[in-house]
C-alpha cells in the first residue's frame, strides 16, 4: 500500500479494538451453532470480516506476513519467480495457503460424518455428551456436531480468504 494512501489513525485505532471482539463473537457463534442461532458458516463469515478489516486498514502484506506468518507474500514471490516454477510459487504463496484451508475444512466435515459410520450409525449422525457438576459453568455440553461445524468454518474462512486475496491482487 503506497504512503499517500494511508488509512487514518481513527480507522487504525478502531480496527485494533474491534477485531478481537469480532473474532470472539465469531468463535462464540461457532461453538453454540449446533442448537442456537449461529454455526460454522456465520462464524466463518464473521471471522473473515475481521481479516478483511485488517486487510483494508493495514494492507495485504501485513495480513499475510505479520499476522498469518506466510513469508512468501506477493512481493517476495515476484523476486523468486526465476528460481521457483510458477506452480511452486502458487502453493507457497498466499492464495495457495488460503486455499489449503478449505481442503482441510472439507476433510474435517466429511470425516466427522464418516465417524458416525464407524459407530454403526448412518452417515452424518451426531451425538451429545453432557458433563455435569463443572465449577462455574454447571453443565458443559460437548456435541459431535461441533466437528462438522468446525469443518464448515474452515471451508468458509479458507474460501473467502482465497477470494479476498485473488480479487485483492488484481
Amino acid at each position: 500500500m503506497s504512503s499517500n494512501n494511508q488509512t487514518t489513525v481513527i480507522v487504525r485505532t478502531v480496527v485494533r479494538s474491534v477485531v478481537p471482539i469480532i473474532v470472539l463473537v465469531a468463535i462464540g457463534l461457532l461453538l453454540q451453532g449446533h442448537n442456537f442461532p449461529g454455526g460454522g458458516f456465520i462464524g466463518g463469515v464473521l471471522t473473515v470480516t475481521a481479516f478483511a478489516l485488517v486487510y483494508i486498514t493495514y494492507g495485504a502484506e501485513y495480513l499475510s506476513q505479520n499476522l498469518l506468518g506466510i513469508s512468501d507474500g506477493s512481493v517476495a514471490r515476484r523476486e523468486t519467480q526465476d528460481v521457483l516454477d510458477p506452480d511452486e510459487a502458487f502453493f507457497s504463496g498466499t492464495v495457495g495457503r488460503y486455499s489449503a484451508v478449505f481442503g482441510l475444512g472439507l476433510a474435517l466435515a466429511a470425516g466427522g460424518g464418516l465417524g458416525a459410520i464407524a459407530f454403526g450409525e448412518p452417515f452424518l449422525s451426531q451425538a451429545v455428551l453432557y458433563f455435569d457438576h463443572i465449577p462455574v459453568f454447571g453443565v458443559i455440553e460437548l456435541a459431535s456436531a461441533l466437528i462438522f461445524d468446525l469443518g464448515v468454518y474452515f471451508v468458509v474462512v479458507g474460501s473467502l480468504l482465497t477470494i479476498l486475496a485473488v480479487v485483492g491482487n488484481e
Binding site: 481442503g103 472439507l106 466429511a110 464418516l114
Partner: protein, 537 residues
C-alpha cells in the same frame, strides 16, 4: 439400511477431498484421483450387487438417521444403479485420459478436485430421494463443470463458458423457483411423499392445477440440462471449449442426469397425478399429467432429432459435428418417453417406452464417451479438428480410428453393436403404439437415422479416409490412452453381442420406474399412507 447406498457418493467425496489436500504433490495427486476413480467403480459394483441380489430391492438410507420425509434420504434402486454404473465406467476412462493429456500445471492446481466434485454431484443426483437435494446435487455438478468448461481459459472458452454459465444459472434459478412452488402447493419435497400426495390430492388439500404448471416449469430445466431443443444453445460451444475428457463426461454422463430426472420424476413420481376439471384446462381435464408432459416431450424430441441431425451434417469441424449429433441423439433418447406417455404406467407400451429410453441413454453414454475421447486425442496431436486439415487418420492410427468407427456405427445402429438394440427398441415402441404419435415417432426416427448415417459417414470420410496430410502424419497417441479408448469400444461391442443381460437390467430398472407404490413403501415404510399422512393433514 446399509451404508452401501452412500458408498459411491462417499468414495467420490473422499477422492475430491484427497485431491484438494494433495495438490502440492503432483504424482500423489494423480494417484489419489485414479484411486478415487477405481474406488468409485468398486463401490458401484458393491452397490449393484446389493441392489440386484434381491429381485426387487430398493435400498434406502436415511442420512444421520432422520426418517423420510423429514430428513435427507438416499435411495438406490435398479434405475439409479444402472446410471451410476455408466458414470463409473465412463468417468474412469475419461480420468485416465485426463491424467495423460491435461497439462501438468492445470492438473495440479484444480483439475482433479473439480473432476471428482463433478462425479460427486452426478452420483448425488442419481441417488437422492428428494427434489430439493436434486437441486443441490445439480449445483455441485454444475459448479465444477463451469470451471472445467473454461479450463483452457482462452477467448473462445471464455465466450462459450459465459453462455454455459448464464444459461445454467438461469436454469437453476427457475428450478429453485419451481421446487419452492411445489413445496408450497404440496407441502413436501420428498419424492415418495410427493407421489403419495399427488395420488390423492383431495385428501392432502392439494390443488393439482398449480402443480401441473410448476412441474412443467421444472421439465424445462431438465430439458436444458439434457440439451434438448429449444434449450440446446449452450451445447456446441461448451463441448468445443471443454477439455476433451470433460466433454466426454458432459455428453456421456452429465446429460443423462437430465434424462434420469425426467424418467424418475415425470414417469414415476408425477405420473400418478391427474389434471383437475376446473381451471380452464377443459380440453385435457381428467387426463393424467403424462398427457401434457408427453406432448411437450414429443415436440422437443422431434425438434432435437431434426435440428441436431441437420446441424451435424453441415459442420466442418469434428467436435462441432459430434456436439450437434449429441443434441439429435438426446432427441432419440426421450422420444420413446413421449410415446409411453400416451398410456398409463400399467400398460405394456409404457414399459416398452421407458425401457427403450433407458437402453438408449446407456448406449449414447458409451458411444459419445468413445467419440469425444477419440476427437480429443486427435485434437491434442494435430492441433485442429477442421475437416479441411484432417484426412487419412485411419492409416496413421488404426486402433484409434477403429474405436471411432465402432462408436459411429453404434450411433447409426448397425448390428451386432449395442446401438442396434437401442434403435430397434425405439422403432418397436413407435410401431407398437398403433396411434398417430407412434407413427410420428417412427417417421422422425427414420429421418433421424438417415441423418445419423449421413453425418457419421461424412466425419469418417473427411477425417479418417484418404491420404494422410502433413499434420496428421505426426499423430502418435500414447498407447495407454488408445488402450482405454479401445476398451470402451470393446465394451460397446460386448454389450451388443451379450445384450440379453443388459436388457434384463434395463427391464428391472423399468419395473422400478413403474412400481411407484413399491418406491413409496420402501422410502416411507409399509404403512406410510396411514401413519404419516394422518399426522400431517
Amino acid at each position: 439400511m446399509s451404508a452401501i447406498v452412500a458408498a459411491p457418493l462417499l468414495v467420490a467425496l473422499g477422492g475430491a477431498i484427497g485431491c484438494l489436500l494433495m495438490r502440492s504433490r503432483p504424482r500423489l495427486l494423480r494417484g489419489v484421483s485414479l484411486l478415487g476413480g477405481v474406488g468409485y467403480l468398486l463401490a458401484t459394483v458393491a452397490l449393484a450387487r446389493a441392489v440386484f441380489a434381491d429381485s426387487d430391492a430398493i435400498l434406502v438410507y436415511y442420512l444421520s438417521g432422520w426418517q423420510a420425509p423429514y430428513g435427507i434420504t438416499l435411495v438406490a434402486d435398479r434405475l439409479s444403479v444402472i446410471f451410476i454404473g455408466l458414470t463409473a465406467i465412463v468417468s474412469l476412462a475419461a480420468l485416465w485420459v485426463s491424467v495423460r493429456t491435461i497439462d501438468a500445471s492445470g492438473q495440479r492446481i484444480s483439475y482433479h478436485a473439480l473432476y471428482q466434485f463433478m462425479v460427486v454431484g452426478i452420483t448425488g443426483s442419481f441417488l437422492t430421494a428428494d427434489i430439493f437435494n436434486l437441486f443441490v446435487w445439480f449445483e455441485v455438478m454444475l459448479m465444477a463443470s463451469y470451471v472445467l468448461v473454461v479450463f483452457h481459459s482462452g477467448p473462445e472458452q471464455t465466450r462459450a463458458g459465459m453462455q454455459y454459465v448464464v444459461l445454467n444459472l438461469l436454469g437453476s434459478a427457475v428450478m429453485l423457483l419451481a421446487i419452492g412452488g411445489l413445496y408450497a402447493t404440496t407441502g413436501t419435497l420428498n419424492m415418495a411423499d410427493l407421489a403419495r400426495r399427488l395420488a390423492e390430492p383431495a385428501a392432502y388439500g392439494i390443488a393439482p392445477g398449480p402443480v401441473l404448471g410448476l412441474t412443467g416449469l421444472l421439465l424445462c430445466v431438465f430439458a436444458l440440462k439434457a440439451g434438448l431443443v429449444p434449450f440446446q444453445f449452450w451445447v456446441p460451444g461448451a463441448y468445443q471449449a471443454a477439455p476433451p475428457p470433460v466433454t466426454a463426461m458432459l455428453a456421456g454422463v452429465v446429460k443423462k442426469v437430465g434424462v434420469y430426472a425426467i424418467i424418475r420424476l415425470y414417469f414415476s413420481v408425477f405420473a400418478v397425478a391427474t389434471i383437475p376439471d376446473s381451471g380452464g384446462l377443459s380440453v385435457v381435464a381428467g387426463e393424467p399429467f403424462l398427457v401434457v408432459f408427453g406432448g411437450v416431450i414429443l415436440v422437443m424430441a422431434l425438434l432435437s432429432i431434426l435440428l441436431g441431425g441437420i446441424g451435424a451434417t453441415g459442420r466442418n469441424n469434428l467436435d462441432e459435428l459430434l456436439a450437434y449429433s449429441s443434441i439429435s441423439q438426446v432427441g432419440f433418447i426421450v422420444l420413446p418417453l413421449a410415446v409411453a406417455a400416451t398410456t398409463l404406467p400399467g400398460d405394456s407400451l409404457f414399459r416398452a417406452g421407458v425401457l427403450a429410453t433407458i437402453v438408449y441413454a446407456i448406449i449414447h453414454g458409451f458411444a459419445k464417451g468413445v467419440l469425444f475421447l477419440v476427437s480429443g486425442a486427435i485434437e491434442d496431436h494435430v492441433g485442429t479438428l477442421e475437416f479441411s486439415q484432417l484426412g487419412g487418420i485411419s492409416e496413421q492410427a488404426p486402433v484409434l480410428s477403429g474405436a471411432f468407427f465402432v462408436g459411429g456405427l453404434t450411433l447409426i445402429g448397425i448390428p451386432p453393436l449395442f446401438g442396434f438394440f437401442g434403435k430397434l427398441l425405439v422403432f418397436k415402441v413407435g410401431v407398437e403404439a398403433q396411434n398417430t404419435i407412434g407413427w410420428i415417432a417412427v417417421g422422425a426416427t427414420l429421418i433421424g437415422a438417415i441423418l445419423t448415417i449421413t453425418y457419421v459417414t461424412r466425419a469418417w470420410e473427411r477425417a479418417f479416409w484418404g491420404p494422410p496430410n502433413e499434420f496428421v502424419e505426426e499423430l502418435t497417441v500414447s498407447p495407454s490412452v488408445v488402450a482405454v479408448i479401445a476398451g470402451l469400444a470393446i465394451i460397446i461391442i460386448a454389450l451388443g453381442i451379450g445384450f440379453q443381460p443388459v436388457y434384463e437390467l434395463a427391464n428391472g430398472a423399468t419395473s422400478a420406474v413403474i412400481d411407484t407404490d413399491a418406491y413409496v413403501r420402501a422410502v416411507l415404510g409399509p404403512e406410510s399412507a396411514h401413519a404419516i399422512g394422518g399426522g400431517l393433514r
